[in-house]
């Protein structure tokens, strides 16, 4: 019995160790490269732990002429998309969970089917529509495209959060003379706050890292978002890996923090949406 116990513990610890190693391995190279000075970058075999640690790559990345520009562009696009998506999706989620109207099921299925659209299948006509509207190379064009791809998931998530808020609370508020809107603002919104937070964070994560639309819709270098902008460090002949990895770390930190904060809510929203479909 004791030996068997010990055996499972060893297997278990080994499993966890292997899992951690698999997950963190590329990050080791990322971190190590970002801390190396230029002359240490191209030694063979590569040193896992840099001999002299330097932060010059981080300052170089941050001071790269357009990096802050890209950063602000990404921030602007992501935040505006988030706000708009949340407004539109909260309305729809309310309608789907609280109201009854002809075609409710049908429209819910429309939302469900929309999640299956692949970006690459839509990018050509969307490119043509956006350019016909004169929105190429502009943030509104990009934001619209991002909304189209995040609204379905956002409605789905918010709906699963809203289903869990009991109707009776609103009903009793309305019994006491509150209007529908008042009942919604006073009863539902406060309870929905974690759900809204998780959904907003999800939308933010998706737009912050989106690549294809940004690549196709934006050609003006000053309007690029971070995922495209980071390619600047990939020179024509030689890539400056040190600066690029430092820039990568700077870009990733906001999403890491954001994700750690909302993790729990997001998971509960996603899994309940899955089981209560």
């Amino acid at each position: 019995m004791m030996i068997k116990r010990l055996g499972t513990r060893i297997i278990f610890a080994g499993g966890i160790g292997l899992l951690m190693f698999f997950s963190l391995f590329p990050f080791m190279q990322m971190l190590s490269t970002s801390l190396k000075s230029a002359d240490q970058l191209f030694t063979f075999p590569p040193a896992w732990i840099p001999k002299n640690i330097t932060f010059s790559n981080f300052t170089a990345a941050w001071e790269h002429k357009q990096f802050i520009h890209y950063f602000m562009n990404s921030l602007f696009v992501s935040v505006v998309t988030c706000i708009l998506v949340i407004i539109v999706s909260v309305l729809a989620a309310y309608s789907f969970t609280r109201l009854e109207f002809p075609g409710r099921k049908f429209f819910l299925n429309v939302i469900l089917v929309s999640q299956m659209f692949c970006m690459s299948a839509i990018v050509i006509p969307l490119y043509k529509i956006v350019s016909a509207l004169g929105l190429l190379n502009s943030f509104p064009g990009l934001i619209l495209a991002y909304m189209a791809f995040t609204v379905p998931v956002a409605v789905w998530l918010l709906r699963s959060f809203m289903i869990n808020i009991p109707f009776d609370m609103e009903e009793s508020a309305m019994m006491e003379g509150a209007t529908k809107l008042q009942a919604f603002m006073k009863v539902v919104v406060p309870l929905l706050r974690p759900g809204i937070g998780a959904t907003a964070a999800y939308v933010f994560l998706m737009t912050w890292q989106e690549f294809l639309f940004s690549l196709v819709f934006i050609t003006d270098p000053l309007k690029r978002t971070l995922p495209i902008g980071i390619m600047d460090f990939k020179g024509q002949y030689e890539t400056n890996w040190g600066t690029m990895m430092a820039a990568s770390i700077i870009i990733s930190i906001p999403v890491f923090i954001l994700f750690m904060v909302i993790q729990k809510q997001l998971i509960s929203g996603l899994t309940e949406g899955a089981t209560k479909g």
Binding site: S95, R98, F101, K234, V255
Partner: protein, 291 residues
């Protein structure tokens, strides 16, 4: 219960539905329209060819190859993401010290922006400066200068491994949440009946998480099929076109050759492909609910 209110109901879903119609469904119709034209620049001005293009697309064998790559890519990535995700979820479902820390670390690949993940893997796979060759040497298999992304037979394996790494934490997250909602008393009862770990897993764990498991399989398959930037950045479809999948091929056709007609036909095929997979999986899910 739900209040009947047709007007308000439509008003509130209006913005979302309108957005989806204008930005997803109309473009889809537009794609179909473009797909009926010959837009090959070497053939002169675009002309209407109807459904003939759909047949011609398959003639030179390139499209067939792309779809075969797409299938291998989607099946391998989705399968291993779910399997590794499930194993990871089972491991992390046990209580141990610093579990929160391990879970946070394991989630990092998923949270990492896709472009950055791809760039990092490019470095890892580098024949000289990459840590992968260096790891193999450290493990005692000798110094190699394997070009992970530049060798035709190997490149597909390499992009698949990177994609598995990027996405498995999502499967883990969802499955872990599902595992945590399996009632404890069921395991207690099974223990009394003398069921061992494996039997408990098959008879209690799997049925209880099957709903979430199927959703995960569906989402992961769709995402993987459409996953563009990993291959675009790692190999660009090469070497010798051995890693071209549908999205990278569509991108090359449309923004490399400006052959929007052919690109649209590939899009339509992709769409049908995904639609059939989803339909199949959704059916399975409903079947499950009825039982």
């Amino acid at each position: 219960m739900r209040t009947r209110s047709t007007f308000l109901g439509y008003m509130l879903i209006g913005p979302s539905i309108l957005l989806l119609i204008v930005l997803l469904f109309i473009p889809l119709v537009y794609t179909v329209q473009i797909s009926l034209q010959d837009t090959d620049l070497s053939h002169g001005a675009p002309k209407w060819i109807g459904l003939a293009g759909y047949v011609d697309s398959w003639k030179d064998g390139e499209l067939l190859k792309v779809f075969m790559h797409s299938t291998v890519w989607t099946v391998c990535v989705a399968f291993f993401q779910v399997v590794i995700g499930l194993v990871a979820a089972l491991l992390l479902n046990r209580k141990f010290r610093f579990r929160w820390l391990v879970r946070a670390m394991v989630l990092l690949p998923w949270v990492l922006p896709g472009v950055i993940a791809a760039l990092t893997w490019r470095l890892v796979y580098d024949s000289q400066f990459g840590f992968l060759n260096s790891l193999i040497a450290k493990l005692g298999f000798g110094q190699h200068a394997t070009d992970w992304l530049g060798t035709p037979g190997l490149a597909m394996f390499s992009v698949i491994l990177a994609a598995i790494w990027k996405g498995f934490p999502f499967a883990m997250l969802m499955l872990l949440a599902a595992l945590q909602s399996v009632p404890h008393d069921q395991y207690e009862a099974a223990k009394i009946d003398g069921a061992d770990g494996l039997r408990q897993f098959i008879h209690i764990t799997l049925p209880s998480i099957s709903g979430v498991l199927k959703t995960v399989i569906m989402l992961v398959s769709i995402w993987t099929f459409n996953y563009f930037e990993m291959i675009y950045i790692l190999t660009g479809g090469g070497p010798i076109r051995s890693t071209h999948i549908a999205p990278t091929y569509i991108y090359e056709l449309s923004f490399g050759h400006f052959n929007f007609g052919e690109a649209s036909r590939v899009s339509v095929f992709s769409f049908i492909f995904i639609f059939l997979i989803s339909l199949f999986l959704i059916r399975q899910m409903h079947k499950n609910e009825r039982n």
